[in-house]
Symmetry: D2
């Protein structure tokens, strides 16, 4: 039984708490959030203790592992402190908004970086993971091109965007990890962005972007992003290989289809957002974290993958600004 503390009692903290509660080998023992109302509410739900100061988490001898869901600007400090305290660590993405800050994290961790897991949940989505496995099994031969379509149902509030580090570090960061998951290290990136949302344009950020990546082995990928999508949370993937193609459609709640005089085969709307769409992924991710924590084996994805994704985000932002390809 692994005893787990969660730092950050927001939306993502609730997701992780639910996964911990459902896992037979895990036990939630502590919830930490500086906003007492949040900490109290989440901890009460599972009948566990709460605290306001993360230091109490690091000091608690009954805590074996820490899940970090605090605001991004605290990630590095919380990771470093938790590792120093001998805890197993899984942190939400991104590792940091600033490349230098992320670099400091990797440097200070040293070899321990291999054991800090990064919460890139999409690697654990059953559809994406199945495609990855089947490519590994050789089903479509050498992977040659990857198309990642990733659109959020609705733009976040302008104030969120302001502090988010921009679309590449906040939203595309997941897709950078997806591309790296399938294609490995990236050699070159180019990007173009535009706006359909004036509030986001006013923040100096893009709300629609296209990113093109070339891996060190010469394979191509494209990422299609939009901050809003009329039909919900558009999360699809196409892996094109020498011998065939594997693709993942959007998910729907049921398998119902409808035919009328104006259309046929209409399914229900796609699942609307990440809590619902990736619920399985979060659950499986936690299982993987617990397995590697138990076994003491390297985490995958690790904080090094978080750093690599952040470097990509930074390079992409530069490319979108200058119009020139950026080599990594």
């Amino acid at each position: 039984m692994i005893r787990i503390a969660i730092i950050g009692a927001g939306r993502i903290g609730h997701v992780h708490a639910r996964a911990v509660d459902a896992h037979p080998a895990a036990e939630l023992v502590l919830v930490c959030d500086p906003f007492e109302k949040n900490a109290k509410e989440l901890s009460a739900q599972y009948g566990v203790r709460y605290c306001l100061d993360p230091q109490e988490v690091f000091d608690a001898p009954e805590v074996d592992a820490v899940i970090i869901g605090s605001p991004t600007r605290f990630h590095v400090d919380h990771i470093l402190a938790a590792v120093k305290a001998g805890k197993k660590v899984m942190s939400e993405k991104p590792i940091a908004l600033d490349v230098a800050e992320a670099k400091r994290c990797i440097d200070e961790l040293g070899e321990a970086a291999d054991n800090v897991m990064m919460g890139f949940n999409r690697r654990f989505d059953p559809s994406f993971a199945e495609i990855h496995q089947r490519i590994d099994d050789g089903e479509i031969g050498q992977l040659q091109q990857l198309i990642v379509v990733s659109r959020d149902p609705a733009a976040p509030p302008a104030e969120y965007v302001a502090g988010s580090g921009g679309i590449f570090k906040d939203m595309t960061i997941h897709d950078f990890d997806t591309v790296r998951f399938f294609l490995g290290d990236i050699a070159e990136v180019t990007a173009v962005g535009t706006n359909v949302d004036e509030a986001i344009a006013a923040q100096g950020d893009f709300d629609q972007v296209l990113v093109t990546l070339k891996s060190t082995e010469g394979r191509l990928a494209t990422i299609v992003n939009s901050r809003s999508c009329a039909f919900g949370y558009d999360q699809r993937l196409e892996a094109f290989g020498a011998d065939g193609m594997l693709s993942a459609d959007n998910l729907t709640q049921t398998a119902v289809r409808k035919a009328t005089s104006s259309q046929t085969e209409a399914k229900s709307a796609v699942m609307d957002f990440f809590l619902e769409r990736y619920e399985d992924a979060y659950r499986i991710e936690l299982g993987r974290f617990i397995d590697t924590a138990d076994a003491g084996t390297p985490a995958s994805p690790s904080v090094r993958d978080g750093y690599a994704a952040l470097l990509l985000a930074q390079a992409t932002a530069d490319s979108a600004r200058t119009g020139a390809a950026v080599k990594l």
Copy 2:
């Protein structure tokens, strides 16, 4: 070059004329219809001669083959006269409304019955024919169960229904042939009917029926019929075998799909009726007729298949009336 006459310048006559015109080895030479307006219009469209009396067709030395699309009550006489005149013959279904009349046709034709083709166009539909071929190729092992869904977009006028011989001889007749195409001879049939259309009920006919068939080899089939269908012409097939299933969806005009906030993957409406849905089938059917006429080989389906389907229609009508299974 085979020189073809068409008897009956109605809707189906137009379909056949178009197919003849498009076939490189066939030439339309004569159109016959007692309604001069119809005969004139169709013949003018292809710049050929017309006549009002079928006897002229049988007497015409320049006619090699006759396509019979006259009203059902004339089919047997036209078939017999055309064969007697030495013409190759393809007749529209059903062979007759009355079993005795059809029996007379088969008896008088004798061995020549093998060479008279019956216009069961659905055997030539590319999707249904592909399923048949793949079953023959052993793709799904022994065929065990067949589901035929066949619904018309809208009920015909009450006066048409009155003279149609009832739903089984008029509409289900196609599906009986489809079942025989896949399962061979039928040993037993049961049926139940109901009404959602009062005008048809007033004619003493059903407008929705379910038919269950067992082949002489013990294989099962079910036919689902409705005289009306809100989403168009519903023509589907499922062949369930020991090793898998092959099924044919409805067709749509394009491959466009749509996603909105309330649904996803919605295709355009299905093709609305038989002229459009089975255009390819009519064209391929004509090609087969010409090939067998040229080669002098047995027609398939032949007028014997037309007779077998009519026997099934009669037995099914009896079952629907009495509630008891009818053995054949």
Copy 3:
């Protein structure tokens, strides 16, 4: 918090135990099975007490509700005893193999029959339930025809078949309930059966059947059953209404599709059997049981629905034997 005992620690007992454990308002407190090994294993899994004699369950003051998953021949006795002891009851299907025995249950229960829930889990399948709801909402107008395709992946052992009451009471019973769920009371039923499995034929039972039903309101339904299916657990539904059609496809584990030189859009195999396919349904069913038990409101489906389905199974078996439609 409702305290629940489970009678029968077999496969279905495990399903219910998992659902009880996951439900926030339910607590598993007792497991009963005459085979101590089974009782011990299931109870140990959830750290609860076990017993060998059902009477202990009925006598236990700490038990609020009983889920009956014992062999069918004990269902009626267990239902009656549990209700007499003041417990809330949900029983697995079928209510009994013998109509008279089921009748006795209904009669002895009297008004209490309304509060005994029958485990027809498929009513709670999200896809089927969505179709039901959307029909109620008027989306496809008056429901006119229902097609239920229900095939098991592989035939049970001959000894199971021998004691199962035959395919209609054992397997089709679910589909009878599905038809009643959508069409209400049934006026007339006809059936035809056949065999592709010699071991089942040797037991005097069918392994493939087609059932045709007409509701008291004149609506038609067909049920297509097979004891084996090469592609897994085939569970589909088509509801055809005056204004359109709603249908439920089979479920797959992921949304992955594959294109190769020989095919395109191929999804992964369908979910293989009921524990997996209907896991959500069992969970939702339990929630409904708890809700109605808490509220003291009538159960739906109730043991009366179980009785009605059994009557249908008996009538269908008669029809399959005699070839004649059976009126109810």
Copy 4:
């Protein structure tokens, strides 16, 4: 009746001849190809005259319109001569391999450029055209992002590639027109290319490219190309708008699907190449050419669209070489 001559009796000449023959208002009267064998064969097929010298076509008083399917290096000369001779003209793409040459064509044509139709057949594909129409009808609101996936089944021979002008002018040229068809004029383009085919790499050309385009109105598009595709001719489109998405799947020959123990819903392979995939499009394109030729109205797409696509191809090649975005 419009009397048509075809210059170029190669593969595409045959496609156009078939479309002309099938069109009720068009008549093929002359075929021209310097290779007598080709000219003879195609002209014989339709029983018409042939010539070896294009000048004979321009001089023939019985020719109303000319379809130019000669090698690209002759397009401009043939267009100019045909127009000068008072013929209606439709030319295959691309207008030329050299921008200056294309510019000369536009300049010399002057206002007549509006009446020369460019053979961008994909605009007439029923699926793509339906999406375009439905966007115009406002079905998905303002179009925001376009994804064009366009992969050929197999790479052409190295010698063809050598004279093709490179992938952008030879293959992507169609996709540039598609993007312009949907998004209008393009302001900026970036591209990245790679090789999986060594023979093409040896020619100094790419065989896989990703192109990103931004329209003058700030809308984004991406083009995904590959010279080879294991599953056939991959031709898809996704139009993402403010209110929804319209997409076009690949086409298959039939609507058959297959379920086995390892997969479900598998369709037959996609149509393999352009002659088959775009047969309808070529037919509809010819109809449009004849309609505008008859009416004397501007052609769409015109040679100006051909010029715009070529400019895009040139700019994209520059971007792929330098890694920098190119403004137009």
